[in-house]
């Protein structure tokens, strides 16, 4: 296709033939005139460009009138009819003197750069852009120099010469990037209303070739624009997003930064040939270390040998009466402990069935993004974002298989959740792990800055103020707060229903004390019932009927030892950071176990 532009490799040709003889014909050489300027009174200089290489050129003074008349223009094309290429003394560069030339075209729109088009000598196709590394290798040194000298802006304009950055290199201070990512999670579009009005928002999780993940959020216009565009599992080029430090409380992926895309951001789908499967990054937790993760918001990855697969069960969901398929598999690992993983929905029917069929081969299974629950002590549960890999090609899998084949098969393994005192409630196993004294919380006021931190504490309730609001009105169905509606009932926002009656649920702050210190402890319904010994409804009755007995009841709750599982986080209150300690679980003190624990502590102290 004849495109108006310089002759390909014109400069190379010129350099190869610095002094053409008068007799032999000069090959067709057309160059683009760039940086045309006047030196001295009547001497014009420019840089001759063929799109790839450049050469400093001087126009013979005879040709100056051509420049003045406009025949030779900057960014125009000229055909060289007679020239000489000379060396510059003491410099590696060369320069050219043009003595005869003719105009081919007036100024073009811009400096022609070598596009990767069909005219390109190399003849490589689209593939070249997406493997920039390869392209670099095949370029000559001169071409690289040219590119470094050349103005890069026009190149960035063209979709072809896209340079892909790894997510790990993104930061808020560098805006000129493009990433190539797969959508590994797509959230739903949510509407919200705040002081500024209404809006809609949704977010996606993007993963690149290295396996690094980042969360991208879109609001309002951008949300509407990209919601349809982003499809789960497809690969896109994304650029012109804004980066900021991630809010750890809400982040679901491991990345210090999170991205916001606005209407100016670019999202282009990548055609199938170039699509890749991002390497799934795992962070396996050994089964015997799952305890501390119980009921935590953080999702875990596990790998283990499947020792048992149950048939599919159908569970009815209370909230909407839907029937959901479920399957339980038991996995074991080198820690000689087993745990039950509940597979839900498609995972139960799909992969679950596959595992059942090959169960006798003791397959290794790696699972990503599991929720850790406290059923039977410790249990694992899949979410919609969990992914299961059967007999994956990972070194951990190979190790596990060889361990199982040699010794694992014979060993009788205990469930990681067993061996906990039966009287204890959820999280009781951890009543003896992460044990601290309350002074530790006082000494470290900035605990739980990013994400809440959990500890066990043995403490006594020292006081509960009888005058504070001890409870809130709750919906009997979903326990969310209800508001009094005009016609006498209670409106629940969660259930979108009006109810005649509501229940009272505790929400109070008590003073808790141990041998070292005293703190304010926020307590919710379940734990408060344990501490006070009756439900909020009953206490309310007592308060209104026999106020003195009510006060006695609160006093009776004091100076009783409890073991609490607490979470510590930071709250901002009038621009001040305050430590907020919440009781997540409360259990009565088991003296025998506590004595054992104390004896261990004593022996630890003696040893150090």
């Amino acid at each position: 296709m004849a495109k108006l532009g310089p002759t390909p490799d014109a400069i190379s040709t010129l350099l190869a033939n610095p002094s053409p003889k008068e007799s032999s014909p000069i090959p067709e050489i057309v160059v683009q005139v760039v940086d045309l300027n006047l030196k001295g009174i009547n001497r014009y200089m420019f840089t001759a460009s063929d799109g790839k290489m450049r050469l400093k050129t001087m126009l013979n003074t005879e040709l100056s009138p051509d420049v003045i008349s406009g025949k030779i223009q900057n960014l125009g094309l000229i055909r060289l009819l007679d020239y000489t290429v000379n060396d510059i003394p003491n410099k590696p560069e060369k320069y050219m003197i043009v003595t005869k030339c003719e105009m081919v075209s007036p100024a073009l729109e811009m400096e022609i750069k070598s596009e990767v088009s069909k005219d390109e000598v190399k003849g490589e196709q689209v593939g070249i852009i997406l493997k920039p590394k390869q392209e670099m290798v095949t370029k000559s040194a001169a071409q690289i120099m040219h590119e470094q000298n050349a103005n890069m802006a026009p190149a960035a304009r063209m979709a072809m010469t896209r340079r892909v950055h790894p997510i790990v290199s993104l930061n808020p201070y560098q805006g000129n990037w493009t990433i190539k990512v797969r959508v590994t999670n797509k959230g739903t579009m949510r509407t919200y209303s705040n002081a500024r009005g209404q809006g809609c928002v949704f977010n996606v999780e993007l993963t690149d070739e290295d396996g690094t993940e980042i969360r991208a959020t879109m609001f309002n216009e951008a949300a509407k624009k990209f919601y349809e565009k982003f499809q789960l599992g497809k690969v896109y080029y994304v650029s012109k997003g804004a980066l900021k430090v991630a809010n750890k409380k809400f982040s679901t992926v491991q990345n210090d930064y999170e991205m916001t895309l606005n209407e100016n951001s670019e999202v282009d789908e990548v055609s199938n040939e170039e699509a890749f499967v991002p390497e799934t990054k795992f962070d396996f937790i050994p089964i015997d270390m799952l305890g501390p993760h119980v009921n935590s918001k953080v999702l875990v990855d596990v790998i283990g040998v499947v020792t048992n697969v149950s048939p599919t069960m159908s569970i009815r969901r209370k909230s909407d009466n839907e029937n959901i398929p479920k399957r339980d598999i038991t996995i074991a690992d080198e820690s000689k402990k087993v745990v039950v993983v509940s597979l839900w929905n498609d995972l139960a029917t799909g992969v679950g069935q596959e595992l059942l069929d090959i169960a006798d081969q003791s397959p290794v299974v790696a699972i990503k993004s599991l929720k850790v629950g406290d059923y039977q002590g410790v249990s694992l549960s899949t979410l919609s974002r969990s992914s299961i890999f059967v007999n994956p090609d990972l070194p951990e899998a190979k190790r596990l298989k060889s361990w199982y084949d040699s010794e694992g098969k014979e060993v009788s393994m205990a469930s990681v959740g067993s061996g906990m005192s039966p009287s204890a409630n959820s999280g009781a196993w951890s009543m003896y792990s992460d044990r601290i004294s309350l002074s530790y919380l006082k000494d470290n006021p900035s605990l739980g800055e990013d994400k809440p931190v959990f500890f066990s504490v043995k403490a006594y309730i020292s006081s509960i103020k009888p005058d504070q609001t001890l409870w809130y009105r709750a919906c009997k169905m979903c326990n969310k707060k209800v508001t009094e509606s005009l016609d006498g009932g209670f409106w629940c926002d969660g259930c979108q229903k009006n109810a005649e009656e509501c229940s009272l649920r505790y929400i109070l702050v008590a003073r808790a004390m141990d041998a070292t210190s005293e703190v304010y402890l926020s307590v919710f319904n379940n734990e408060a019932e344990r501490i006070i010994g009756c439900s909020a409804d009953e206490l309310d009755k007592l308060r209104s009927e026999e106020h003195s007995l009510y006060e006695v009841k609160l006093k009776q709750a004091t100076w009783v030892p409890h073991v609490f599982r607490v979470s510590v986080s930071q709250n901002e209150y009038n621009n001040e950071k305050r430590q907020r300690i919440t009781a997540r679980a409360a259990a009565p003190l088991d003296f025998a176990a506590e004595s054992k624990f104390l004896l261990e502590e004593i022996s630890k102290m003696k040893a150090s």
Binding site: F591, A592, S595, K596, L599, K606
Partner: protein, 106 residues
């Protein structure tokens, strides 16, 4: 209460060191006789406790009194400790209270 002679936490092994002194021990009741109780100390050795126990008597009882031999105590105070207790914890207490942390107790 006479605090001039504080009671030492003992098991059978430690009892012989404090013959003639006021001691206290946790005993698991094995057999009731007239005027005495045969019991097992927290380190599994049989001891005789002289005196009149309270009625009803629980399985575990703490006795405070003078040690009159390395195998018997003349009890003046009896405390019912119920039917379930971790004797190991008590035993460890005896060892610690008479060993490293003696200065805290006597």
């Amino acid at each position: 209460m006479d605090t001039s002679n504080p009671s030492v936490f003992v098991n059978a092994e430690l009892l012989r060191l404090y013959v003639g002194r006021q001691v206290r021990a946790l005993i698991q009741v094995v057999q009731l006789d007239a005027g005495s109780v045969i019991g097992k100390s927290t380190d599994e050795i049989q001891l005789i406790v002289k005196g009149t126990p309270p009625f009803p008597l629980t399985k575990f009882v703490e006795v405070i009194g003078i040690a009159d031999s390395d195998k018997s105590i003349q009890a003046s105070i009896w405390n019912n400790f119920g039917d379930t207790i971790d004797t190991h914890a008590y035993n460890q207490l005896c060892l610690l209270a008479n060993g490293e942390f003696k200065h805290l107790f006597i």
